[in-house]
């Protein structure tokens, strides 16, 4: 008979082969992902691969594999497979849980791995109680299946519900995957906030895209401490204030391993650095004539400061950390590193600019187009520190933690808890009685065998008495 479409789809989803196949594919993909760097900028790949190979890799999302559609599809397929297998096994599991234990008959005894037969000289109410009690000591409260003056049978079990432990484990795994997929609804990004400033825009991870938050973050203070006598940072902290709707709503001193949480967004201390183009320039100003000494001035970028000579002011118009000239002789900044720090300064007399020029920290004696009454030397630049913050919003994280809890609980039950069953019956045989004890355990037979032996020993003593 031809199988219907639904039943063949069903048998596809419940097959163990599918499980193994998906797990192997996921493992291979994961291994490839640990070899090919993930989420890097194109030039990183182009150094190692041909452009055509790189195009193909991008097409198949090999540069961002763990977030690619096909990896998500594999995880979804795995989840469906797990759910279907679990549903498929449920009826037989339920039958097993709800069934009433049978009396210990000859057919049942054949299937049990542990059995022992003892002879009893006499059997009365007292012996019956002693037997029940010694079973109870080791397994669980026994239920009498049959009890007549001449014969007696009982059943005892413990850990029946540990049979459900694989459901608990699989539920945990499904929850973790669902939580992980839910996490794609959130975002992860990075922002820099200069001390004293406010920022509300993050750069999303693994892309050049920006995202505006519905609140802003002000960094009131940033501190970094170093291990004594070394350049290794010991700790760095930022005093942050959250501003939402124009109001200061929350503040916290965050550090590595201690984030701030606001509106489901976690704000982590991630890095720090000095912000070029936003700091103070240290200049040495020497009058060309007269006997006056050189004087040093510290001027912030975009600020102006009166010199000690009457009427003169000095302003720092712009600062670039890596000065260079473009094709049309315009000033360009090549990088954010202090390779060729330069400042554009303006000398002002009575409110009117009289001289404008660039000074260079690496070339202190360069005096191009010197015409004013002073020579200027660019000594040093002190940038303002910025704090690097990572922002994460993950709506699935609690689902993942719940999944982890069930996974651990399930694994513990699977590995260390077992369903132990014990049958006992006493039947008259000629002028004495025959006591039969039999049992089995779903797992850990070795330790159950010890328990079984101990019960046998006690029963032997009862039989002797």
């Amino acid at each position: 008979m031809k199988k219907s479409f639904t039943s063949s789809v069903w048998s596809f989803f419940i097959s163990l082969k599918l499980t193994i196949f998906i797990l192997i594919i996921i493992s291979i993909a994961s291994i490839i992902g640990t070899i090919i760097p993930q989420k890097e900028l194109p030039y990183v790949y182009l150094r190692a691969f041909k452009p055509s190979t790189y195009e193909l890799m991008r097409l198949l999302s090999f540069d961002n594999m763990y977030e690619s559609w096909w990896f998500m599809a594999l995880l979804t397929l795995f989840t469906l497979n797990l759910i279907c297998c679990t549903i498929n096994r449920f009826p037989s599991f339920w039958r097993f849980i709800t069934q009433k234990e049978k009396d210990l008959d000859d057919q049942l005894i054949k299937t049990l791995p542990l059995k022992k037969t003892l002879r009893l000289k006499a059997f009365d109410e007292r012996t019956r109680n002693l037997i029940t009690r010694s079973v109870q000591k080791y397994v669980h409260k026994p239920t009498a299946l049959k009890s007549t003056p001449e014969s007696f049978s009982l059943f005892a079990e413990s850990g029946k519900y540990t049979r459900a432990s694989f459901y608990v484990t699989h539920l945990g795994i499904v929850l973790i995957i669902i939580g992980g997929l839910l996490g794609n609804l959130g975002y992860q990004g990075y922002m820099q906030v200069v001390e004293g400033r406010t920022n509300d825009t993050i750069r999303l991870r693994g892309s050049t895209q920006e995202k505006k938050l519905d609140f802003s973050i002000r960094c009131d203070d940033f501190q970094v401490t170093f291990y004594e006598g070394s350049q290794r940072p010991k700790d760095f902290t930022s005093q942050l204030t959250i501003i939402d709707g124009g109001k200061e709503v929350k503040e916290k001193l965050i550090e590595v391993n201690d984030p701030l949480q606001y509106k489901g967004v976690f704000i982590y201390q991630s890095s720090y650095g000095t912000a070029p183009g936003d700091g103070q320039v240290l200049l040495e100003v020497t009058p060309k004539t007269g006997t006056q000494q050189a004087k040093r001035y510290r001027i912030g970028v975009g600020e102006r400061l009166p010199l000690e000579d009457e009427g003169y002011e000095l302003a720092v118009k712009r600062f670039v950390p890596d000065f260079s000239m473009g094709q049309n002789n315009e000033v360009i900044n090549r990088s954010q590193e202090m390779r060729n720090p330069a400042a554009q300064i303006t000398l002002i007399k009575d409110g009117n600019p009289v001289e404008e020029k660039w000074v260079f920290a690496n070339f202190p004696d360069f005096h191009g187009g010197q015409k004013g009454p002073y020579t200027f030397k660019f000594l040093n630049f002190a940038g303002r520190e910025y704090t690097g913050l990572q922002l994460t919003k993950d709506p699935g994280v609690w689902v993942v933690w719940a999944g982890c809890f069930f996974l651990c609980l399930g694994c513990y039950l699977i590995c260390f808890a077992s369903h132990q069953r014990l049958w006992l019956k006493v039947d008259p045989k000629k002028d004495e009685y025959l006591l039969t004890l039999a049992g089995t355990s779903s797992k850990n037979m070795l330790s159950f065998t010890k328990t079984f032996d101990r019960i046998c020993l006690e029963l032997k003593q009862i039989a002797k008495a």
Binding site: I31, T34, P259, C411, C415
Partner: protein, 279 residues
């Protein structure tokens, strides 16, 4: 005496204990078994003093951290965990003979830590990301898990050798190598304990990463490889519990799993790079 001298003595004690374990395979006696147990425990004590002193010394240097932060400390602590788990398993299963297959791992780890030029044994300060109690929980659960896998690996080798050498015989053999059933049980128990501990280790790592970096899972090579290792042991448990595999088949799966452990613990650091590059 500083921590280095104690750990040096430990290495020699372990090498000697390994030789005793080898001898035990051929000269079996209950008394000899007890002597070996004694040496193992003394070795572990000296080892513990060495690690404790190193911890104390890190406080004197002003760093103050548990010795789990670089390759040297990882290897030495790993060896400590393996010996501890070995003693506990030997105690539980009343046998001294897996040691011959576990102690080579311990001795290699100790010797590699002190001899390999690429392994620096200086006490270094912790980078801010590692300054957390989660370091202890995460690394200790993972290491104890690896240690349980190592003991199971030793028992798997013992199982395969015994199965190959001697056709099933009884009482007499029981002193040299534990009886096959017992070894099979040790392989299973060790892997089950390791599976649970590695699972908890991965989860504590996820909780910590979520707290320190803002993402519980970032497909870092070490994370990915620990997951793959965990999946191999999951396959082991499924094979045994639902398919009823026993003996040689599961012993081979257990050895494959341990290869995964070795790659996760060492290979990732030397071959791949990522968040865990410091240890």
């Amino acid at each position: 005496m500083n921590s280095s001298s104690f750990l040096g003595i430990t290495t020699f004690l372990y090498l000697f204990t390994m030789a005793l374990y080898f001898a035990y395979i051929f000269y079996r006696s209950k008394k000899f078994g007890l002597i070996i147990r004694g040496f193992t425990i003394v070795g572990l004590l000296v080892h513990t003093i060495g690690l404790g002193l190193r911890w104390y010394e890190s406080y004197q240097l002003g760093y103050g951290h548990i010795p789990l932060s670089n390759m040297y400390e990882a290897l030495v602590s790993m060896a400590w965990c393996i010996v501890l788990v070995l003693i506990l398993m030997e105690q539980k299963f009343k046998t001294e003979t897996m040691g011959a297959f576990v102690f080579p791992i311990v001795s290699i780890a100790m010797a590699y830590a002190s001899l390999a030029p690429s392994v620096q044994d200086e006490i270094e300060p912790l980078i801010p990301a590692l300054q957390s109690n989660w370091l202890t929980y995460h690394v200790m659960t993972c290491f104890l898990g690896y240690a349980a896998f190592a003991v199971s690996f030793g028992a798997s080798i013992a199982f395969l050798l015994k199965k190959k050498d001697a056709p099933p015989s009884t009482e007499e053999d029981a002193v040299t190598l534990p009886a096959l059933d017992l070894l099979d049980e040790i392989v299973y128990k060790g892997n089950a304990v390791g599976f649970l501990l590695l699972g908890i280790g991965i989860i504590t790592g996820a909780v910590w990463a979520n707290y320190a970096w803002g993402s519980y899972w970032s497909w870092d090579p070490k994370e990915t490889w620990s997951l793959i290792t965990w999946l191999i042991y999951a396959a082991f448990l499924h094979a045994r519990l639902t398919r009823g595999w026993r003996g040689s088949k599961t012993a081979i799966l257990s050895i494959i799993g341990f290869c995964g452990v070795l790659f996760t613990f060492l290979g990732v650091n030397y071959v791949l790079s990522g968040l865990h590059s410091y240890a």
